[in-house]
């Protein structure tokens, strides 16, 4: 396949009859490849040995070009020294309290702990909000309005501002017991407030994705509304939203880095301290690599779930 030769059939379908399809942009594909692309989101969609060879070569070429640009850039040597210095990377990874900086490798555990705590709380709070928003009882009307305001507010305000408001606002209130918590606790609180708004919408989509006939079937058997929700609707809803949910959690994992603005010594904070002590940014590279080690497995796992779900649905549709 060569994309340089415009296919006459492509013209009318592009919406730009005057433009040659090849000039529209890199996204253009010759029509002949639609079949392969339609097979799915897999990174290496099938197509035999020839396709594998082509993709290998093109990957090597692209990577080679990028590396060459990096290495040949006028400031390359400096950047490599400041961002990728092996000694600094190692020093910041293991830390050295005597010299006044923390281990980024240890600090990442705080990110993991904040992430896990926030995740559990978000799953609970978001479900609660989603159920209130889905309720129909007239008694709950004021709560429906409140939950709508909540979702609108926390989806609209940047997470960083929520963090600052809670991290500096709550201590200033000098409430006994509440205002004397650690930065990590305030950070988790802000993450939970902000993310619950998003995740409640994901839950809501999941609840709506379960067909109404399932409710009818359960209620017709004499099951109460809450039993129906608990045993029939929620299990199916949650199954449908696992991929988008994991997506949000991947982003939550790395947003724990923002808690460093409150002074928590998590990975990003430790890297910051190192860089301002030693005047070398390699610690940030270490933090970035650690975050990647955390998020990539979850991302691949999400991909696999999505793929499995798609195959199951295709199999279900064919019967």
């Amino acid at each position: 396949m060569d994309g340089s030769e415009p296919d006459p059939r492509a013209g009318p379908f592009t919406g730009f009859p005057d433009a040659s399809p090849a000039t529209i942009g890199g996204a253009w594909q010759p029509p002949g490849s639609f079949g392969a692309a339609g097979r799915g989101p897999r990174l290496l969609s099938g197509g035999g040995r020839r396709a594998t060879a082509v993709s290998t070569v093109s990957t090597l070429v692209v990577l080679g070009v990028l590396v060459a640009i990096f290495l040949l850039a006028p400031g390359s040597k400096q950047v490599r020294h400041v961002f990728f210095n092996p000694t600094d990377m190692w020093q910041s990874l293991i830390g050295n309290p005597k010299k006044g900086y923390y281990s980024v490798g240890e600090a990442i555990w705080l990110n993991i702990r904040m992430f896990l705590a926030a995740e559990v709380l978000i799953l609970g709070l978001a479900l609660f909000i989603a159920l209130i928003r889905q309720s129909v009882s007239p008694v709950l009307f004021p709560f429906r309005v409140l939950s709508l305001i909540y979702v609108d507010f926390f989806r609209g305000v940047p997470l960083l501002l929520v963090l600052l408001a809670i991290g500096f606002g709550v201590p200033a209130l000098r409430l006994p017991g509440v205002s004397t918590q650690s930065a990590a606790i305030y950070g988790v609180a802000a993450l939970v407030l902000s993310y619950s708004a998003y995740v409640s919408e994901v839950y809501r989509a999941g609840l709506n994705s379960v067909h109404r006939s399932q409710t009818a079937a359960a209620r017709s058997l004499g099951l109460s509304q809450s039993t129906t929700l608990r045993y029939v609707i929620l299990p199916q809803a949650v199954r449908n939203i696992i991929p988008p949910l994991l997506n949000d959690f991947i982003s939550l994992q790395k947003d724990t880095a923002l808690v460093s603005t409150l002074g928590a010594i998590e990975a990003n904070g430790a890297a910051q301290i190192y860089s301002s002590t030693v005047f070398n940014y390699s610690s940030y590279t270490v933090a970035a690599i650690l975050f990647l080690i955390l998020t990539i497995p979850l991302a691949r796992f999400t991909d696999r779930l999505i793929d499995r779900d798609r195959r199951r649905r295709l199999a279900g549709a064919s019967t």
Binding site: S213, A217, S220, L221, G222, L223, Y231, V232, P235
Partner: protein, 276 residues
């Protein structure tokens, strides 16, 4: 039609804890279902325009009529899945459409089976069947499972108890749906076009199950397009059109000598389609 139906003669408006008991006592004889002046509209679309119908205990009645004639809506109203606009429905003398009635309690005595099976896809066959007895009646799991297995074996499904619905044929799924409804030991079964979604070769196995229920004395209201089946099984056949019961007669009479011109027209179309 009685628009002001709210105050029925059944003076027992209190929550129906004794309902199942009194139902059982009266179940031996008499009128099982009494529908009077039932009206139901979805928005401006009036689907049921005054239905009056009495069903005796152990009686099997088939509802026939074109799609949209109101058969399904009537059954859904009987199961209280749809709130009604006017009229009343009584079971063995107790009005179930009155205010303050525990709908969940009523539904336990009326099983309904849908055209699209509506099995719970995330549960095995056994879990599908035992969910309601366990969670609505509080039957302990071992007892519920034993009862479920009894029912499953009665309908030739025992080897499927661990399967999930998407691994079953349409006929098997529909039989499981019937077993699931029966597991609540209902006194009345409502069947809503239960064979309409099935491949022709799977229809017979489901109809056999229904025949067995009829032979066992189950009171049933069956909405169906299977005219031959209706002729075989029903004591009475009701022809519905535009939300009204046009004709209500024993099958021998309704299918061979329909009185109403609209019934004749409907049956002519059915015969022309080769379905009678």
């Amino acid at each position: 039609m009685t628009g002001e139906a709210g105050t029925g003669e059944a003076g027992t408006g209190e929550a129906g804890t004794g309902e199942a008991g009194t139902g059982e006592a009266a179940a031996a004889s008499g009128t099982a279902i009494e529908i009077a002046g039932l009206r139901k509209a979805f928005g401006a679309n009036e689907v049921l325009r005054g239905i009056d119908l009495e069903v005796s205990t152990h009686e099997v009645i088939c509802l026939i009529g074109a799609s949209g004639s109101g058969k399904s809506t009537l059954l859904r109203c009987l199961n209280l899945l749809e709130p009604i606009n006017a009229g009343r429905i009584s079971l063995w003398g107790q009005e179930i459409t009155a205010a303050g009635i525990d709908q969940n309690l009523v539904r336990r005595s009326i099983g309904i089976v849908f055209q699209s099976y509506n099995l719970f896809p995330h549960m095995s066959v056994l879990q599908n069947v035992t969910l309601a007895p366990r969670k609505a009646l509080g039957t302990p799991r071992p007892a519920a499972e034993e009862e479920a297995r009894e029912l499953l074996s009665r309908f030739g499904l025992l080897d499927k108890e661990a399967e999930f619905p998407d691994r079953l044929s349409g006929g098997q799924q529909q039989r499981v749906a019937i077993v699931r409804a029966l597991a609540m030991r209902p006194q009345i079964m409502l069947l809503d076009e239960v064979t309409s979604a099935l491949d022709p070769e799977l229809v017979a196995e489901v109809l056999d199950v229904i025949r067995e229920l009829a032979a066992g004395g189950m009171t049933m209201l069956i909405a169906t397009h299977e005219m031959g089946f209706a002729r075989d099984i029903a004591r009475r056949v009701c022809f519905l059109e535009e939300g009204r019961i046009i004709e209500d007669a024993p099958p021998a009479e309704l299918f061979t000598d329909p009185k109403d011109e609209r019934t004749r027209r409907f049956l002519r179309r059915i015969i022309a389609a080769g379905r009678l």
